[in-house]
Amino acid sequence: MTTQPHENTLEIRQLNATLPNGMRLLRDVSLTLEPGEVRALVGESGAGKSMIGRAVLGILPSAVVHSSGDILLEGQSLNAMRPKTRRSIVAKMSALIPQDPLTALNPVRKIGPQITDPLVRIHRWSRDRALKRALELLERVHIRNPERVMNSYPHELSGGMRQRILIAAAFAPSPRLIVADEPTTALDVTVQKQILKLIRELQRETGTAVLFVTHDMGVVAKISQKVTVLFAGRVLEDAPTEAIFNDAAHLYTRGLIAATPTPNATAEPFRPVPQDLIAQLQRDTQAEDVRFYQGGRK
């Protein structure tokens, strides 16, 4: 099988997800991710950011009954695959850096096998090779005593350490795509910066495409080349990061940027996204109104 050099690493086409009660979690979401690109996925809590990541990784909650649209990994349609094939393709090509490093590791299993299991299972590496790779990555994420850490249980390590381990685990199989779902939200501020720096470094070294979920426009500016703004499961805006910050098309996006505290924000008062704008967007969403787009435009 040959892959075109310009093929997208990830392509989401018209993705829909609905709950049994008819509530729509994702509405015709489309986005693409080129090789080596970082795309930020922003939007308020409940907008469906995590749902998109879950859909890509094949771990949608069982309550989500209907899901139409398609997801393509390097041009391969996941919908067309049998579940078993899909699982192994997804496992081979993608990884997750989760939000909560406390619960993402199995509390009763040692760290070592939790990193090496996928390498052995999916990539069919030997135990030795997997072990070597895990140690190498742990060193890369600045873990001082990798052998000892591999033999520890998660609860023996700090939150920052655990998140480093999860980053190492995500990069270990050299995936094409990493979904980072608010990887710094559960950590304290000083650790947040280190973790973010680490992800950015590793991303640049390996050229992995990253779908980076966050609320923080400051983080968006630092890490991403493209931005997708999501509201109530619908894409409001999709643009290069620079364009978003210099000249956002949508009032809501401008509101998000204005609401982000900046280093010199002490001068000006904090301005949240205007309530009437949010109310308007919610009404339009409820009514499935096409003015949803136009209404919010500048």
């Binding site: 619960t103 199995n106 996928p118």
Partner: protein
């Protein structure tokens, strides 16, 4: 022995350890007694001697040397019968608890993780099963299958698997929503692998605690069935049959009733306390 100046955490640590070690010691003593019964028991548990009937225990007037806990109405040595009784009690409790545990936990894991039809069928079965009054159920089963240890064990497993199924199903459902399960799935683990190697180790402490509880229950059930003469032949020394016999002689030979009763009580208590202790020891978060 506990020093009042010791930091509170240290002291609590000790108390928790005692609650683990005392029942463990008692159970180990029983196991030892059961295994080495022929070597330890001072007399043949079945040997009757009408000249030695209703001898009191060693600390009372009229005790015979060598008959430490006295004899029953047929002149059989109470201590020897209790030691041999431990054999039957432990044999029944281990086999019954393990088979109950394997059956019930498997169903609980499947229902809790796979959900859907698995859950509907298994949960309905549990509901229907629990509608039967358990003691009646046991007596009925033994009546149909005939008396004997196999029937006793089968009765326990057939009645009590629902306890495992219910508790383990609930625990599995909690675990199934944990992020580490998603992590494993993203790492390419099949559902069955995820269940066995990710979720099962997390519910194992509960399974073991339930197993211990079940062993205690099995000891009681066996005693009850012996008491109503539905276990093995009444000549054989079981704690239940000793209690049944002792009850008739309580006014002139209370020791025939009391010693097996205390042993039964301590054993059941030890099993359930030990279960909690082991559950804590198995949990890497709680035990650190």
């Amino acid at each position: 022995m506990v020093d009042a100046t010791m930091p509170l955490r240290r002291r609590r640590f000790r108390v928790r350890n005692l609650r683990f070690w005392i029942p463990l010691t008692w159970i180990m003593m029983l196991v030892l007694a059961a295994l080495c019964a022929p070597l330890i028991a001072p007399h043949d548990p079945l040997a009757q001697d009408l000249f030695l009937e209703r001898l009191p225990p060693f600390f009372m007037d009229g005790a015979e040397p060598g008959y430490w806990l006295g004899t029953d109405s047929l002149g059989r040595d109470v201590l020897s019968r209790m030691i041999y009784g431990a054999r039957i009690a432990l044999f029944v409790s281990v086999i019954a608890a393990v088979s109950t545990g394997i059956f019930g936990s498997t169903l609980g894991l499947l229902a809790g993780y796979y959900g859907g039809w698995w859950d509907r069928v298994i949960s309905r079965l549990v509901d229907i099963w629990m509608a039967f009054p358990p003691v009646l159920f046991a007596v009925l089963l033994v009546a149909v299958m005939g008396t004997g240890l196999t029937s006793v064990i089968a009765a326990i497993a057939l009645i009590d698997w629902t306890r495992f199924a219910r508790v383990i199903r609930a625990e599995t459902m909690v675990q199934a929503h944990m992020d580490y399960v998603d992590s494993a799935r993203i790492g390419g683990a099949r559902r069955f692998t995820t269940l066995v190697s990710e979720i099962l180790p997390n519910v194992m402490p509960s399974i073991i605690a339930l197993l211990m509880l079940e062993m205690g229950i099995a000891v009681i059930v066996e005693a009850i069935l012996s008491f109503v003469n539905l276990s093995i032949s009444s000549d054989d020394p079981t704690w239940g049959s000793m209690i049944a016999e002792g009850r008739g002689a309580i006014h002139f030979a209370w020791w025939v009733l009391l010693f097996p009763l205390i042993t039964l009580f301590l054993t059941v208590l030890s099993f359930s306390t030990l279960g909690e202790g082991i559950k804590k020891k198995f949990d890497p978060v709680l035990s650190s």
